[in-house]
């Protein structure tokens, strides 16, 4: 793709003034996808919508990268009782700040996508769960929802059809874990955000015991264009295995941090050196956290030719996550950084299950010991041992998310960790 990105015109958040106003959005082909579905119900039966979205292979933008249409198809046949769509706008993974851009600049695209999803899965109500810190953006989205109600894109008998759906915003109150889908449901039900044991999966027993699907905000924002232009068009954007536009949230030591929209599969070095104007103060790149704090950090020398898509990142031993890239320059103290990440996970562990509740604290305390110069080499082995004992032993993936950065940074930046440890082996003169 080399220089294609320079001519790329954003699809999720195009540069159109006041696009958050419904009139502007409508003028720019907004709600056309929904209208075309409602006007040709034969072509666009719920099954066909799911098929099209499945075919487009929109990989979940919340971090897991699971095909959204496939997820929709897990919903059981309607039985006349309520079903729900929960939209995940919790966006609490450190390094991630993209969904709020959609709420701010193009909320109707997301709303339209959610309505189409609701239609395809035949749900009765959409709950948009947004982290409590995003209060100003909750108001922005709520305004957009109110406009959509006024124009009858939401509510009863949408655009004169027999399709009805309600949409509500629900504000969290400060808990990273509520971005985990089952914990999000608990929180929506007004409880402490403890992840649920799976099975049963949300499509079987979700909100209030009813079938529920949870999708990320950005994921849903991709839906209208898939309906409008077709899955085959969508798949021409970005790599075959990870198609579509992606919001890259780039932060850290770059000259122009911010959210950028480009196709998936952007060359990482292009993003760092050209898109964001390179490392600030002329420093050298040291490391990259490619998709939020839980994705394993990569050393600068590992990034050659690596692109921002699931496959390419897996090959070098990391993950796409939320595409929240944290760029770190040569002065970054990796031990200090990893310690701070472990503070985060310790703070955010819900405390429900043992390995995570105890492990996150143990990691933090041990990293603190090393970071403050009291560590010993054996502490590094202990850290790895704790990681081994946390991964895959808990109800949700927070323990894994807490362990990966520690495990991989010890692996990839071991000399830095060792340097901070006390010398326990003395060189023989």
């Amino acid at each position: 793709m080399s220089n294609d990105w320079k001519s790329y015109q954003p699809l999720l958040i195009p540069a159109i003034r006041d696009l958050h106003e419904i009139s502007v959005y409508e003028k720019n082909d907004g709600y056309q996808a929904l209208k075309s579905i409602l006007s040709d119900r034969k072509k666009w039966s719920p099954e066909n919508v799911i098929e099209e979205v499945k075919d487009a292979n929109i990989r979940g933008r919340g971090g897991a990268g699971f095909n959204a249409g496939l997820k929709w198809s897990f919903m059981p046949e309607p039985d006349g009782k309520p079903r729900y769509l929960a939209c995940n706008g919790d966006e609490s993974e450190p390094g991630t700040f993209k969904d709020r851009k959609i709420f701010e600049y193009n909320p109707h695209l997301f709303i339209e996508g959610a309505i189409i999803a609701a239609y395809a899965m035949q749900v009765d109500a959409i709950y948009v769960y947004i982290r409590g810190e995003y209060r100003p953006w909750v108001h922005k989205l709520q305004q957009a929802i109110d406009q959509a109600y006024e124009k009858n894109y939401l509510g009863k008998n949408i655009q004169g059809s027999d399709f009805s759906v309600e949409m509500y915003t629900h504000m969290g109150a400060g808990a990273y874990i509520c971005g985990e889908e089952s914990s999000l449901m608990e929180s929506l039900e007004g409880k402490r955000g403890y992840p649920r044991v799976k099975p049963p999966f949300p499509a079987q027993r979700g909100l209030w015991g009813r079938p529920t699907t949870i999708n990320n905000i950005e994921t849903l924002a991709n839906v209208p264009m898939v309906i409008k232009n077709g899955a085959s068009w969508f798949k021409t954007i970005g790599p075959d295995t990870h198609p579509g536009p992606v919001l890259y949230g780039i932060s850290g030591h770059v000259n122009r941090p911010g959210v950028y929209e480009y196709p998936a599969g952007m060359n990482i070095m292009t993003l760092i050196n050209e898109v964001t104007g390179g490392i600030r103060n002329g420093k050298k790149l040291k490391a990259l956290i490619p998709g939020g704090s839980s994705t394993p950090p990569l050393r600068a020398d590992m990034l050659d030719g690596v692109t921002m898509d699931a496959d390419s990142l897996r090959e070098v031993g990391s993950m796409m996550g939320t595409a929240g890239m944290v760029v770190l320059d040569e002065d970054t103290d990796m031990v200090d950084l990893i310690w701070r990440i472990s503070v985060f996970y310790h703070h955010e562990s819900c405390g429900q299950c043992t390995p995570c509740r105890e492990g996150t604290g143990w990691l933090e305390k041990t990293l603190h010991k090393i970071n403050s110069g009291d560590g010993e080499i054996r502490d590094l082995d202990l850290l790895l041992a704790i990681c081994n004992r946390m991964e895959g032993r808990t109800i949700c993936a927070l323990a894994d998310a807490a362990a990966w950065p520690v495990r991989y940074s010890i692996d990839r930046f071991r000399d830095e960790f060792e340097k901070k440890c006390k010398k326990t082996v003395y060189a023989v003169a």
Partner: protein, 580 residues
């Protein structure tokens, strides 16, 4: 029948269920903390992890795929699974610590995690000796800990409510207590507060944990985080002995364990019985143990002048009773059975007076409307109302009793263990015209007003049967010695280590806790006419006689009660005492 392979041994199962419960039902061992068969399954302790897999089924061939050695190919779940939340499935393969090193390692790892923030204060912890964490750590835990940091500090010795004390540092966040108040007692008084390793169970600010079932959380707490305000620091569990009993404090007849040390009951805990009380018991019932220890009538008492009762010999008591009986005609004797006394006592009581020619027998139900709930508290305050009713005693009340005393020109009132004066509006004056004989366990208003008091054994000292509000007959086993019984000779009685190896010269053993009393039936055997009354040697014989003579007790025997955890009797539907 569907099958499951656990550690390479094949089991069959009939009903769907969870792997852990199936293993427990089959006597297999697997460590766990948060799971409780009567509560929901949060799978949060992560202790019961197993390796699980399913055979690969080839749909085209319609058979399982087979490997070179002729065994089924198994596809294992990528992660270890918690057995408590894993559904049984036909053909499923489970490996526990017995056949898989990873599982063994995972169990030790998890215990290491649990223990990093758990205070190692077993020597001063009340739970020690009956602590699942302690026991499982011995069996499955790591050799030591690699944790070298400060533990998280949390509130200690918090009076959570009148009966329960919390040590939040010991808590391992299994949430059993919270689930109990949410799902069983439904008072919703507890919650987990805070997050991560700062979690612990708490009530809302300023609220008391005064749930009438609060002490059950102490039982199910797998560590010493919740302890009983009443029992803590009283005794080490390994010094005590444990005898199955029946609750005497209300009509539900909860199955209990009576915990004794040196012939004192120190606590009562529930004993599982699916058809009566499941794993639970009201706090009130637990705290009723003091009646077995304190204020007991020891030695017969006789009133010489108007005001004072003095101890007397058994001989003198028997003689006095006989003399008084000889003075009056049967119609002048008022016989009051008791819903608080056992079937055997009531039966022998009635039989004795029947032989004397008395033909009417009464009792006063002890019911406080509205004091029950729909869990385990009944309006009926007595353990044997249905039993005394089934033996043919007629129900009466305060007014009825007054009328009886008047109309009969009563000269003797014989009362079997029941504090009638205390719980009715009757006063000692009503009895003052008659010679009152009370056979009782504890000093109370009624016994103190009596002319003659015969001390009898309580439910903790004898083997006897009681019929609960639902018509279930259950029996007790003696837990305490009287002056005339001996645990070394009575093979039914249990022995603790102290009972075994202690001697009367040890400073923790004293004879003072043995009460001078005998079972009521034994007293009547002594009094009875040897020609007409067969001498009973045990309450077991009495029950045999009852079973043979009274149709409602047909086929009831101690052996059956023991084997079946009590027997459901066919009681008449119109027995108005059946109020729960």
């Amino acid at each position: 029948m569907p099958e499951i392979f656990i550690d390479n041994i094949r089991y069959e199962y009939e009903t769907p269920g969870k792997v852990l419960q199936f293993m427990l039902d089959n006597g297999l061992d697997l460590p766990f903390f948060c799971y409780h068969p009567s509560l929901s399954i949060p799978a949060n302790c992560r202790q019961c992890m197993v390796k699980a897999g399913m055979p690969i089924f080839n749909r085209d061939k319609g058979t399982y795929e087979i490997d070179e050695e002729g065994n089924r190919k198994i596809r294992y779940f990528p992660k270890l699974m918690t057995a408590c939340s894993l559904d049984l499935a036909d053909g499923m393969v489970i490996h526990t610590h017995h056949s898989d090193e990873l599982v063994k390692q995972a169990q030790a790892d998890n215990l290491e995690f649990i223990l990093i923030n758990h205070p190692l204060d077993c020597p001063i912890c009340d739970q020690a000796g009956e602590c699942p964490l302690q026991i499982l750590t011995y069996k499955y835990g790591p050799e030591g800990s690699r944790f070298e940091h400060k533990k998280v500090h949390k509130p200690k010795a918090v009076q959570l409510g009148p009966r329960v004390i919390l040590d939040a540092e010991r808590c391992i966040n299994c949430t059993r207590c919270v689930r109990f108040t949410d799902e069983i007692s439904k008072t919703h008084q507890l919650t987990i507060v805070s997050r991560g390793d700062k979690n612990y169970p708490m009530t809302a600010d300023g609220e008391e944990f005064d749930d009438p079932y609060s002490l059950n959380t102490v039982d199910i707490c797998p560590v010493g985080a919740l302890t009983s305000a009443d029992f803590r620091f009283k005794a080490r569990v390994w010094e005590m002995n444990q005898t199955p009993g029946i609750d005497m404090s209300n009509g539900k007849g909860c199955n209990t364990w009576l915990w004794t040390r040196d012939n004192l009951i120190l606590r009562i805990t529930p004993r599982f019985n699916e058809s009566v009380n499941d794993h639970w018991m009201p706090d009130e019932a637990r705290l009723s143990y003091s009646r077995f220890n304190e204020n007991r009538i020891s030695r017969p008492q006789i009133r010489l002048d108007r005001d004072e009762q003095v101890p007397t010999s058994w001989n003198n008591a028997e003689l006095t009773f006989r003399e008084e009986l000889d003075k009056v005609s049967p119609s002048q004797i008022l016989v009051l059975g008791s819903p608080h006394a056992s079937v055997e006592d009531n039966y022998s009581f009635r039989k004795f007076f029947e032989e004397k020619g008395v033909n009417e027998f009464f009792y006063l139900p002890h019911i406080i409307p509205g004091s029950g709930d729909d869990l385990l508290l009944s309006d009926d305050q007595a353990p044997n109302t249905n039993g005394v009713n089934a033996l043919g005693f007629r129900e009466t009340d305060e007014a009825g009793l007054k009328k009886l005393i008047k109309s009969k020109k009563t000269s003797i009132i014989a009362i079997l263990d029941d504090d009638i004066l205390e719980r009715t509006g009757l006063t000692a004056k009503e009895f003052s015209g008659s010679f009152t004989v009370v056979l009782g366990t504890n000093h109370n208003e009624t016994s103190l007003s009596a002319n003659l008091v015969i001390p009898i054994t309580c439910a903790a000292e004898h083997a006897a049967s009681y019929v609960n509000v639902d018509g279930r007959i259950q029996r007790t086993i003696p837990a305490k010695e009287t002056l005339y019984t001996n645990r070394r000779l009575n093979l039914e009685m249990s022995m603790s280590r102290l009972d075994h190896y202690g001697t009367k010269f040890d400073n923790w053993v004293t004879d003072a806790n043995r009460v001078d009393c005998i079972p009521a039936w034994e007293f009547f055997t002594r009094l009875g006419d040897e020609q007409t009354t067969p001498a009973y040697h045990s309450s077991r014989e009495i029950m045999e006689e009852i079973a043979g003579r009274i149709s409602r007790f047909k086929e009831v025997s101690y052996d059956r009660m023991d084997d079946e955890n009590g027997i459901q009797l066919e009681l008449k539907q119109n027995t108005e005492v059946n109020t729960v």
